[in-house]
Each structure stands twice: as C-alpha cells, then as structure tokens.
Symmetry: C2
Subunit: 161 residues, 2 copies
C-alpha cells in the first residue's frame, strides 16, 4: 500500500522546491518544467540500466515498449500501464488510468492546468529509459479527465527511426 509512497512524497517535494526557488528568482514555468524533465531523464536512464541488467536483448521496438509498460512502470509506480496502442510506425500511446503522481489531486477540472508540472518528470523518465536502450524519442503527456480514476495519456514519437 505504501510502497511507492517515499518516491511520491519525494517527487512532490522536488516539485515544490523547484517552483519555490523559482519564485524568488528569475525562472519561468517553462524552465521549471525543463528542469523536472531533465531530472526525470537521468533517473530513467539509471533505472533502465539497472532493470535490464539480466534481461535478454530486445527483439524490436515494440518489445522495448512492452518492457517499459510492464517492468519499468511497475518498478516506479507499482502498477502496469493499462493500455498500449501503436500505429506500428513509431508512435506509441501509453495510457495509465490511475497515474500515481496525479491520484492525490482533487477530482474535477479545477486543477487540470496544474497537471503539466506533475507530468514533466515522468515524461523525462520515459525518455531517459528509452534513450538508455538507444531509442531517441519525444515524450509528451496529456490529461483529459481527472476523476477519482485519473487518465494519463502519453504520446511517444520517435524522431529518428
């Protein structure tokens, strides 16, 4: 029940720290997002390095994405991705119906505009994980509804096939 809690709490503190130090300084929202994304990138790289230590070589890109959806996601968020879709041309959509870093936010639409800063770290996380396996990617996130069950869409586009 509380297995993922230390990570969640620390993530929230990092968020607050970065936004608070920005208030006193010069940085704008975009730069804070970039900082969080970079932080996620390096965490993702390191994590993937450790997780794939003893796994067999991946067959193809889809195989890599499945690993991200299952093992990688479970390691960080203690649950799997709920839905993986692809157009088989390098675009993947990962859907998490109960995204842990958002599940503490209130339901409804009033905090929807706050969502991007809660997603930046995770975008970087996925990008870093893929980068560690030699897949360059662009990762974006979307939240359409934020009910008790949160929906989190991730669009992953490869830019270099």
């Amino acid at each position: 029940m509380a297995d993922e809690a230390p990570f969640q709490f620390l993530h929230n503190e990092v968020l607050q720290y970065i936004y608070k130090s920005a208030e006193n300084g010069e940085t704008d929202n975009g730069r804070n997002i970039a900082k969080l994304e970079n932080m996620g990138f390096r965490v993702g790289q390191g994590l993937m390095e450790r997780l794939t230590k003893d796994t067999a070589r991946f067959k193809d890109e889809l195989d890599i994405m499945k690993f991200v959806c299952k093992d990688f996601w479970t390691c960080v968020f203690k649950k799997q991705i709920d839905n993986l879709r692809t157009n088989h041309q390098g675009i993947y959509v990962l859907q998490d119906n109960k995204f842990r870093l958002l599940s503490q936010l209130s339901a409804g639409k009033q905090y929807l505009e706050q969502a991007p800063k809660y997603l930046a770290f995770t975008c970087g996380l996925v990008r870093g994980a893929l980068s560690n396996l030699g897949v360059k990617s662009i990762v974006t996130a979307e939240v359409s509804v934020m009910p008790a069950c949160v929906s989190d869409h991730k669009m992953i586009r490869k830019i270099f096939s």
Copy 2:
C-alpha cells in the same frame, strides 16, 4: 531487487540539483545540507502520517522508535534497522549496516567527507517522522567505516522530554 531504486535515483538527482544550483549562486554547504534536511522532514512527516493510518496508538517512546526501525525504515529503504540501542533516557542509536543511500559509494575512506550530504535527507526524514508522532528530536548521523557493508549510526536525542 530494484524496488527502492526509483527513490534512490531521485534522491541522487535532488542532491546533484541542489549542489549544482548552489555552484552558480550564493549558497554554501551548510545551507544545502539544511535544504536537504528540510525536504526530508516534510517527506518523513507525510510518510509517517500514511503509515500510521491504521495502527494502534503507541504505548511509549520506545514503541515509536521500534516502529521507526521496522515499518518506517522498511517502507523507505526496504530493510530494517540492524541495531537499536537506547540509554532509556531519551537517547536512541539506530544502526544500519548497509545504508542504501551510501551503498553505491566506493569503499574505503576517500569519500568519507562526502558522506554528510548523503545523510542530511535521512536525518530530516527521521526527524519529520518523529515530529508527526509528537516527538521533538535532534537527529544526527555518523559514518565511521564505509566498506562494502556501510555502517550508519544515528543519534536521536529528545530535547523536550
């Protein structure tokens, strides 16, 4: 095996971020330590709040310390404290022989002076956890040897009995 890894990696990134942003700015080492300690404090508070949600009321201080050594430590570091000693007058020494946040550092004495910054967050973590249960404390940490098996001593002194 990799259960505690996301937390560890994130902790390392936070450390690097705080120290790197300090290089460009005005802050000194003591202030960075304080920032980490404060971050740990709030994480500890939140975690303890969640962990004690369904537990019975604690009998006494020793009971609280045992909970910190077992449940709390396991939640964050996936292992228990190895040794708890007390003088029954408000001083507790917690010993972790393989402290996770140090176990990635090289053995030997050459990085011993780097240790405090890896311990600051955890000191705050314990202080925050105790504070959430109404125990005001001073938490300090010591590292005497840093071999493959890392020894981490924590001296917890209550200031208000």
